[in-house]
């Protein structure tokens, strides 16, 4: 160790420094008290016994130094929690109390009770599995254990035990994850109480088993994703399959409400894993209770406790490299969100998620200059096949809704068509990503032989072709499966939907100043920002919801007209973006 220029330690160091035996003994005791088996091995307390463990002293100093910051932070968090509780109690609580009061005075809400019970098995499975998928995906770039950058760059770079530093972040994540579970359990208990006349406390108690255990179990599993690159790889690979299963469960839930149930399939799903055990537990107080429901609840609770115990231990062993990357990504996403740069936030997250991904697919560049933009867009899309997957995921429910929308009348027809169009837009918009990348920074177009606005129009070629193909194939499959002729309007709708995606793509960098636009009607800034941000879908969805309600030929003509108007609009937006037309302030 260094002598003159470097400080000596008071511990049993590696070098010849003086030792402070008393201090060292104290620290060993601290290690025994605080340290757990997880601190062994890399990053652990056993290793620190050789160098001296100063974790307790360091954290004590940090707590003392940051006391004012912690007080201020606690105040902010307290205010946020108070506001949230006030919102939930005043809206959800009072509303529910009102309904129960009505029920006690004779109001009957039991008409939809059988529908609710029919929806619960597959619905709860879909929600639970969807939540688990979401938390696991989140762990790919952020994770339940995400310490601030300063903690990773300063504190964890020192020879301190990571356990005491990291575990609080795990428990904060657990607490946050439980909130939606509690709300869902409360909502389920209210619904069961009103529609099935199940005693509220009994319904709440059994619903809480799933509402608490599933988020906690998902958070514990996310620690595994954060810790292990091989598990993370499996999550990345398995996500599309699980997403498809969640979607199928949701479809099954809708079919069950409509009277098409398969009790055998539901039983298999509910016993297939923790996602189903929560449904079995939730059904216990109802007359649709399944045998062994309480056992499923117990199993879920035991598994959750074991998983949390493991996560508590394992969180100390998360590699520093992983923590560093996640801290930087989370800070980047938070900074982008604070300035309403939603796309930047998404890009930062995607960048971290795709780090190290190999480029396997190469399409030979075309000989003709006119094909260079479609070549670039096709290459970009083929290198991100998940975009096609997401397009299909959104297109399928859109197509399935086409027939019910056509059969409905009045406002229901418009609403169902709007829902189908909105889902269709989300599907088609996945295919316009190359255009959005071009618009993120117009300077990127320096390579292009075309003026910027015309270049952006050329970026519409591949999305139009791909969305037409997707919707035509989808309509064909749906038609073969017995859907009515309404699904054949989907290819026609693909054109205006792609044009709407182009309008949004030509939006350019975020205009946060719109948030503060003065109006005569008070603080309308967020709404103005939203209108600018989602101009394409906000205009196209209502327009198509009405247009597709007319006769087929008229609907197709409307689609063509709306497409032309939207493409002209996106051209004008691209002109503005390129600086030839300055934005009007």
């Amino acid at each position: 160790m260094s002598g003159d220029t470097g400080p000596g330690t008071g511990s049993t160091g590696n070098g010849t420094d003086d030792n402070n035996t008393d201090d060292n003994n104290t620290d060993d005791n601290n290690t025994e008290e605080n340290g757990t088996a997880d601190d062994n091995g890399t990053g652990g307390g056993a290793a620190l016994e050789e160098t001296g463990d100063w974790t307790a002293e360091t954290l004590e100093l940090l707590r003392a130094l940051r006391a004012p910051h912690r007080r201020s932070r606690a105040g902010q968090i307290g205010y946020a929690v108070y506001s949230f509780m006030l919102f939930v109690l005043s809206w959800g609580g009072l509303f529910s109390l009102g309904l129960f009061a009505n029920a006690s005075m004779g109001a009957n809400y039991t008409a939809d009770g059988p529908h609710l019970l029919a929806a619960l098995p597959s619905g709860v499975c879909a929600l639970s599995l969807g939540l688990m998928l979401m938390v696991a995906r989140d762990a790919l770039w952020r994770g339940p254990v995400v310490a601030p950058r300063a903690t990773v760059d300063w504190l964890l770079m020192q020879p301190v035990r990571p356990g005491p530093v990291l575990r609080p972040w795990l428990w904060v994540s657990c607490a946050i994850a439980v909130v939606p579970g509690l709300l869902a359990a409360a909502a389920a208990a209210v619904a069961l109480g009103l529609m099935e006349r199940v005693p509220f406390l009994s319904a709440l108690g059994w619903a809480l088993v799933g509402g608490i255990c599933v988020p906690l179990l998902a958070t514990a599993a996310a620690v595994l994703v954060e810790r292990s690159t091989s598990v993370a790889r499996w999550v990345r690979r398995g996500s599309p399959v699980v997403a498809l299963v969640v979607m199928l469960l949701a479809v099954q839930c809708v079919l069950a409400v409509m009277g098409h149930r398969s009790t055998l399939l539901e039983r298999i799903e509910m016993w297939s894993g923790p996602w189903g055990w929560s449904a079995l537990a939730g059904l216990v107080p109802t007359h649709a209770a399944q045998p062994g429901g309480w056992a499923a609840g117990l199993l879920l609770a035991v598994l959750t406790v074991l998983a949390l115990a493991w996560a508590h231990r394992a969180s100390a062993g998360i590699p520093l490299g992983s923590l560093r990357l996640r801290a930087r990504t989370a800070a980047g996403v938070a900074a982008a969100l604070r300035t309403a740069e939603l796309r930047s936030a998404r890009l930062v997250q995607a960048q971290a998620d795709q780090k190290g991904r190999k480029v396997r697919l190469r399409i030979p560049p075309p000989q003709r200059a006119a094909l260079i933009v479609p070549w670039r867009d096709l290459t970009s899309l083929l290198r991100a096949p998940s975009r096609f997957g997401r397009a299909v995921l959104f297109a399928v429910p859109a197509l399935l809704l086409a027939e019910p929308a056509a059969d409905a009348r009045g406002a229901d027809r418009v609403l169902l068509t709007a829902l189908a169009v909105a889902l269709g837009y989300l599907g088609v918009a996945q295919l316009a990503e190359p255009a959005r990348v071009e618009a993120d920074d117009p300077r990127r177009a320096g390579w292009s032989p075309y003026p910027y606005a015309k270049l952006m129009l050329r970026h519409a070629m591949v999305p139009v072709a791909a969305s037409l193909l997707l919707m035509t194939l989808g309509a064909g499959v749906a038609s073969a499966l017995g859907e009515g002729p309404a699904v054949w309007l989907a290819p026609a709708a693909a054109l205006p939907l792609t044009a709407a995606a182009m309008v949004n793509a030509c939006r350019g960098p975020s205009r946060q100043e719109l948030m503060y636009t003065p109006t005569g009607a008070g603080g309308m800034g967020p709404f103005i920002f939203l209108a600018w941000y989602a101009a394409g879908p906000l205009t196209t969805v209502p327009a198509l919801a009405f247009a597709l309600g007319s006769r087929p030929v008229t609907a197709v003509l409307w689609c063509l007209l709306i497409s032309a108007v939207l493409m002209y609009w996106s051209y004008q937006r691209a002109l503005t973006l390129s600086g030839r037309h300055r934005p009007k302030d």
Binding site: M1, G8, E57, D153, Q158, G321, K358
Partner: protein, 242 residues
């Protein structure tokens, strides 16, 4: 009668056939490198030549595709607190606590390493790095050069056997660069091994015992600074005594 042999210092840091690939790209071809206590090795080369990759491997922040990196015979892994206790790394862009002053940052590091009389060492590091008058300010108020000095100071307030620096001269003014060279010489005299990557021939000339020239991940030359630096920086005048 047999000739007396020069004593060979055992290596503190030993890299054996270490290579690193990122996907299909070879970032660092297999190389051997030893650094003994009190020895300074400077890595030079263009951007993308593999200097930072080599530093990350030496610091245990990355895993080699092949080969081993050992500190006193033990594998180097930054997740091992024993390694973090002996190895000081300066260079990564570091995020500071927004509510802690410069002095408090350094005190935190000193306490985490169990330094006796930490505040004495903190004051000494602040003076050495020219940060004494900024001791009570928050890091947000520091210039990029002062922030770099803070990172260097953080390496000084703690015990270390090996100092790894990635382009430490970046953002430093000439005066601070001279202080840096003096600091590194003092470290070497005190038995600390130094591994640094630099684009500054003067720093390598005045401080390094050996210079390793890298290009596209391959060692083109290594040896005494006066032999390698003219190849690495053709046309640059290396002035003064070593």
């Amino acid at each position: 009668m047999a000739k007396p042999k020069k004593a060979v210092r055992p290596p503190l840091l030993a890299l054996r056939q270490v290579s690193r690939r990122y996907g299909g790209r070879l970032a660092l071809a297999p190389l051997d490198l030893n650094i003994a206590a009190g020895e300074c090795v400077a890595l030079v080369g263009h951007n993308g030549s593999g200097k930072s990759t080599l530093l990350r491997l030496a610091a245990g922040r990355d895993t080699p595709t092949s080969g081993t990196v050992k500190l006193d015979g033990e594998p180097v892994d930054e997740n091992d607190p024993r390694v973090r206790a002996r190895l000081a790394v300066v260079g990564d862009v570091s995020a500071c606590y927004p509510d802690l002053t410069v002095r408090e940052h350094l005190a935190l590091v000193a306490v985490a390493h169990g330094v006796e009389e930490p505040l004495t060492w903190v004051d000494r590091a602040l003076t050495d790095r020219g940060l004494a008058e900024h001791a009570e300010v928050l890091p947000d108020s520091l210039s990029s050069g002062q922030l770099q000095s803070l990172l260097l100071a953080a390496a000084l307030v703690r015990p270390r056997d090996l100092l790894i620096l990635d382009e430490p001269e970046q953002r430093l003014d000439p005066g601070a660069r001279e202080r840096l060279a003096a600091l590194l010489r003092a470290e070497l005299a005190d038995g600390v091994a130094v591994l640094l990557a630099t684009h500054h021939p003067d720093l390598a000339f005045h401080v390094a015992d050996r210079v390793v020239l890298l290009e596209d991940g391959v060692v083109l030359a290594q040896g005494a600074p006066q032999n390698v630096l003219p190849t690495a920086f053709p046309g640059s005048a290396l002035g003064g005594d070593r």
